[in-house]
Symmetry: C2
Subunit: 169 residues, 2 copies
DNA sequence: TCCGGACCCTTGGACGTCCTAGTAGATTTC
DNA sequence: GAAATCTACTAGGACGTCCAAGGGTCCGGA
């Protein structure tokens, strides 16, 4: 999409903020912009690894979630809550995974409102291979040191808790 | 979209990874997933603040970039490079900003291939007000301490440089 | 009993992102 | 100078995300 720039555009933006009288918030602006860009880079790497499996990150996340669930099955609303995405995003992902034969929809045995999503055998196989690929090709070479990882987990855990994601300690 | 969960779903995922033999990469996985979620939270806050201005974050970023450029004008290819998004994303954003009267397209004086995007007076006014709103309502209350901000900037700068974003020190 | 509110899922639409392909203009190469 | 190669932008399409709206189901209080 274009080679490396000669200078860091986010550091430039931070300088611009400072020169225009917003020095107080220039640093948080730069940190937040850097998070946005980092997410974009990481998502690109992940999607590159998942493409051969016919998966996107959204679909992979659902497969991985199901593979850790009892019986490989969850209500769609539960998946929406755990993945922290809108219910319609789950509907979308399940539609495509179902078309690919990786999951199945089934009515809930006692609650007529809820739909259960269940991993098929093929889905469990694909989930396992995709996880192995992601682990060795992305997470094992994340580009962060162990200290960075430790620190990011701690700082972002606190941020997400304060943002209301969860009640945990 | 759903209230707080009782437990941190990312910490749970990390435990699942460890219990399934991927202990070596469980921490980087958790850090990367946390970056994804943090980006989602921050983007939501930003879009909430920009909505009253009829802007999205993508359009705001272009306006802000132009407001710092000489004459409020840049070639589209330059905007694409600095914002680090696909050229078609810039085409999309310019289409909508132009329809809103905030920017204008003009042919480059000497290079027939390139199109210049220029801020209108209205565009400059909206950019200024949107920046003030973002600074006071999002960046000044980022939810990160000064130390967190400092650390994030440093760690993510290194990550982005190693990822090939720029050549800077 | 039944009825209104809460919950679950889906449809349709808006947006941003990327990719592929195509056109037009510029530059390099021979 | 002409052909091959780059570069810049745009059209069309796939995908994920969200919101608003709608229909089915469940439950608790009158």
């Amino acid at each position: 999409m274009g080679g490396p720039l000669p200078r860091d555009p986010i550091a430039d933006a931070q300088r611009n903020w400072e020169q225009h009288g917003w020095g107080e918030v220039a640093a948080p602006m730069a940190a937040i912009t850097a998070i946005m860009r980092t997410q974009q880079i990481l998502l690109g790497r992940i999607e590159d690894v998942l493409r051969p499996f016919g998966l996107t990150f959204a679909r992979y996340e659902l497969l991985a979630l199901l593979s850790f669930a009892r019986d490989g099955s969850l209500p769609m609303s539960r998946a929406s809550a755990l993945l922290q995405v809108h219910p319609t995003s789950v509907t979308n992902a399940v539609d495509r995974l179902e078309a690919a034969g990786l999951v199945e929809r089934a009515p809930h045995p006692t609650d007529g409102r809820t739909t259960l999503v269940t991993l098929t055998d093929a889905g469990r196989r694909v989930a396992g291979r995709a996880t192995a690929a992601l682990n060795t090709e992305v997470f094992a070479r994340s580009g962060f040191t162990d200290d960075d990882v430790e620190h990011l987990i701690r700082v972002l855990h606190g941020f997400r808790r304060r943002a209301g994601d969860f009640l945990d300690p």
